[in-house]
Amino acid sequence: MTEVKAETEKIWKQRPEWPFLLFLLFVAVSYVGLVLLMLGANVLTVSWAELGRVLKDSAIQDSIRLTVVSCTATAILSVFVAVPLGYLLSRYQFRGRAFLDSLVDVPVLLPPLVVGLSLLILFNRVSLSEGCGVLAFGFFVAAGFAFFGTVGRRRIIPFTLALLGVFMAAGVIMLGGEASRLEEVLGGVGLPMTFHPLGVVLAQFPVAAAFAIRTMKTSYDQVSPRYEEVAMSLGCQRGQAFKMVVLPQVGRGVVAAGTMAWARALGEFGPILIFAGATRGRTEVLSTSVFLEINLGNLAGAAALSLVMIFMAVLILLLVRGFLSKGGSE
């Protein structure tokens, strides 16, 4: 009994908290210190004269303009995809869901050059009929999963997927002898992609959208499905419940997803270089400008451009933080 009492007494003797706090502080200082040193090294390398010179350079001005426009377009596109896809992944249980969930992250995990190379091959090496064939196969596999999956009486989903598969298969037959590449077809309707400014957006999109989808899924996960259930008991269809009850609650998530996509697009380099190229005044964005300046042996110019990128990234972060702290929607 005395032994038990002695053991119990030990519980009340609190160990000091400072070793743990010291550990937290060490990790925080190490990481934040590294980030600050990186930024500081950039700032110290840049001369104001060099910064003024690059900002007056018309090619760099074009590059800044294309960066802002392409990042904004990519962010908007990413949000358009992330809002529904994040909801699908957050709310629905179906066979193949884990596969789809993993597939979303693939662009993030792939080496950036591989993303660019894949786009280049898709647009310039794969014929339309081959593309339709791959899609038809994918739709039929998805329809099979949906049919034998847990979607219950919702036969409309496998039916629609199978129908899309049939359309694609019909496309293969109709385009049997067609050797046109996607780039040729899109170029024919005035939407050239490869080594074109539009290609910059497409090169930025896969990774940026992956981040946006992940952010939106997390936002939806934080909203209880009970809201939709109650809304549906009041007469809403699933889509109406999403629009009227869920979407207003994930406003901050949408902004966060857009910001994440914008910031990610700003830093994109490999896929742009491979798919859109780095042609001065045409497909050059800030990340490729830095690369071009380094290639020309102009380290000071590259550092000045890096500073511009850091300024843009911090500015967008502060703007969004400001917007979120002022409320917006929950």
Partner: protein, 212 residues
């Protein structure tokens, strides 16, 4: 009294929990209080009747006002639910909560206004109509949830422990108000509770669920 709601041999399976052979009949305009120990499946039954647990349903039939609703969509059943966890929509004001169902159903504006005013008066919500759910007291939130469920004049009102968690003073106040409004509206009601006193005040009949 003819059966307005008839539930027969309901079988539900959720993970390890299963319920078999549950049957219940509620007459038109009647309020039946469903009682039973925690975990016996009262809320699950109510949510199944409301059409929210279709994926868990294993057997049985549900008929409301002569129509088989066993596989009907939740919104097509004409059932108003006041859930245990209240679940008010954070971005909507109290007025928008009361208007929610009627607006969805395309009621005329004048009719919606009249209905909202009547409900707000009956439930003592007039001064709260412009407020968001954030900051409402537990009693106020429950009255809003009741008003939201009743606004559409549902065929059946389901109260799932709608008064749980209220302090004694608020409990008496909300209970009295609820009883009054339900009497005035003559709604057929299925009322789940732990409290025998509450069941005796609101219910015309008490059904006891026994875990098997």
């Amino acid at each position: 009294m003819s059966d307005f709601l008839r539930v027969e041999n309901l079988g539900i399976k959720v993970g390890e929990f299963s319920l078999d052979g549950f049957s219940l009949a509620v007459g038109e305009g009647e309020c039946v209080s469903l009682m039973g120990p925690s975990g016996c499946g009262k809320s699950t039954v109510v949510e199944a009747i409301c059409g929210l647990r279709g994926q868990w349903l294993r057997s049985g039939t549900m008929v409301l006002n002569g129509v088989d609703i066993t596989h009907a969509a939740a919104g097509a059943r004409g059932i108003g639910l006041v859930p245990q966890d209240v679940v008010l929509f954070p971005s909507l004001t109290v007025r928008e909560h009361l208007e929610f169902g009627p607006r969805l159903r395309g009621w005329k504006r004048g009719l919606i206004k009249e209905r909202v005013e009547n409900l707000a008066e009956g439930l003592g919500l007039e001064s709260l109509l412009g407020r968001l759910p954030e900051g409402l007291s537990g009693g106020e939130a429950r009255r809003v949830a009741l008003g939201r469920a009743m606004a559409l004049c549902p065929r059946l009102l389901c109260l799932d422990e709608a008064l749980s968690g209220l302090d004694e003073e608020r409990y008496e106040e909300v209970l009295a108000m609820m009883g009054q409004v339900m009497k005035e509206e003559k709604m057929t009601t299925l009322h789940v509770t732990h409290s025998r006193a509450e069941a005796e005040v609101l219910g015309d009949r008490i059904c006891q669920m026994v875990p098997v």
